[in-house]
């Protein structure tokens, strides 16, 4: 077998393997794409939009438009905005004690400044307080949630 013919044969063999293996690899990624696309379409109905207002109590207020999994709570919505959150888990649910370094302060036994949350009542067009823990409120599609660092006081 001449050198040229031999080189040609090995080159053809190498190219055949490369092209077939590359085609199979492309087919693999195509099937992965199709599968991922199908999963995405299925999951799309399982996610909702949530608008989160953050008010740090120092004139700093901003809005975040987030996409969360259906079934997420007001607390989950906060965690999509920032992961710098400290909280306590109590028998009543989660109690947020600090967000982005802004900590709750108890000035007296019945008053102080703390992180409180509200939801937008689309019927009354007002921010409303549910008097329950943020992880107990399941978000509805296009829900608006406000997390505010503000003064509180209780009277008995």
């Amino acid at each position: 077998m001449s050198i040229q013919r031999r080189t040609f044969l090995f080159a053809i063999l190498g190219l055949a393997v490369w092209s077939t293996a590359a085609s199979l690899t492309a087919a693999y990624y195509y099937t992965q794409y199709v599968e991922t696309r199908r999963t995405f379409e299925e999951l799309k109905s399982l996610v909702i939009n949530a608008n989160v207002q953050m008010n740090y109590g120092n004139e700093t207020q901003n809005w975040h438009n987030e996409t969360v999994i259906a079934g997420s709570t007001a607390f989950d919505a906060l965690l999509t905005v920032t992961t710098n959150v400290e909280y306590q888990t109590t028998a009543y649910g989660v109690f947020v004690t600090s967000v982005d370094g802004v900590k709750n302060v108890a000035e007296t036994p019945t008053s102080g400044r703390a992180w409180l949350w509200y939801y937008w009542n689309a019927t009354t067009l007002k921010w409303a307080d549910l008097l329950k823990a943020s992880d107990a409120y399941v978000l509805r599609p296009n829900a608006a949630i406000a997390w505010r660092y503000e003064s509180y006081s209780y009277s008995f």
Partner: protein
């Protein structure tokens, strides 16, 4: 076969089996290379037999578990590699050049590809219990594409880098020209 050749063959078989049974990353194996080199040094029959023996034992003792229905296909695949080593020896002059490194690289890639296709057919036979065989074959080939690609690249590099020096060293050990 003289004692020297028998001893070398035994060492190759032992090394091959030891490496095959060692826990190692997926798709990184030396059995193809050693079967091919054995085929070059001792002929297609012994190359094929060494590979078949190692794969047979591996089928039962592999760290990844029992090979099951894929085992016969693994044996067929590795037999082809050993036979190819013997055939390549027949067209090799043993005057090594850069061309030999390229040829062994192409052969490493090609034989690995063929081995993977054959074993994927075995996987398809397994999958065929729950779907039509044609669908099982396409699934096995496509889902095995990435591991196969890694396997091909690894063996191409291994064959290119090791075959010629190893055969050369074996030539010197055996003193006389191989395949004579």
């Amino acid at each position: 076969m003289n004692t020297q050749r028998l001893a070398l063959l035994s060492v190759l078989a032992a090394v091959c089996l030891g490496l095959q049974l060692l826990p190692r990353p997926m798709n990184l194996e030396f059995t193809s290379l050693i079967s091919f080199v054995t085929g070059m040094a001792f002929g297609s029959l012994l190359g094929a037999m060494l590979g078949a023996l190692v794969m047979f034992i591996n089928g039962f003792l592999s760290p990844y578990g029992f090979a099951g229905v894929v085992l016969p296909f693994q044996i067929v695949g590795i037999v082809l590699v050993g036979v190819a080593g013997g055939l390549y020896a027949r067209i090799t002059t043993y005057k090594w050049s850069a061309g030999n490194f390229m040829e062994t690289m192409v052969l490493g890639a090609s034989l690995t590809f063929i081995y993977d296709v054959v074993t994927n057919v075995g996987t398809a036979v397994y999958l065929a219990s729950s779907m039509p065989f044609s669908e099982a074959l396409i699934t096995a080939l496509v889902m095995g594409a990435i591991p196969s690609a890694m396997h091909i690249v690894w063996n191409a590099v291994l064959f290119a880098g090791v075959t010629v020096p190893l055969v050369n060293a074996m030539q010197k050990t055996l003193v006389r020209r191989l395949q004579v």
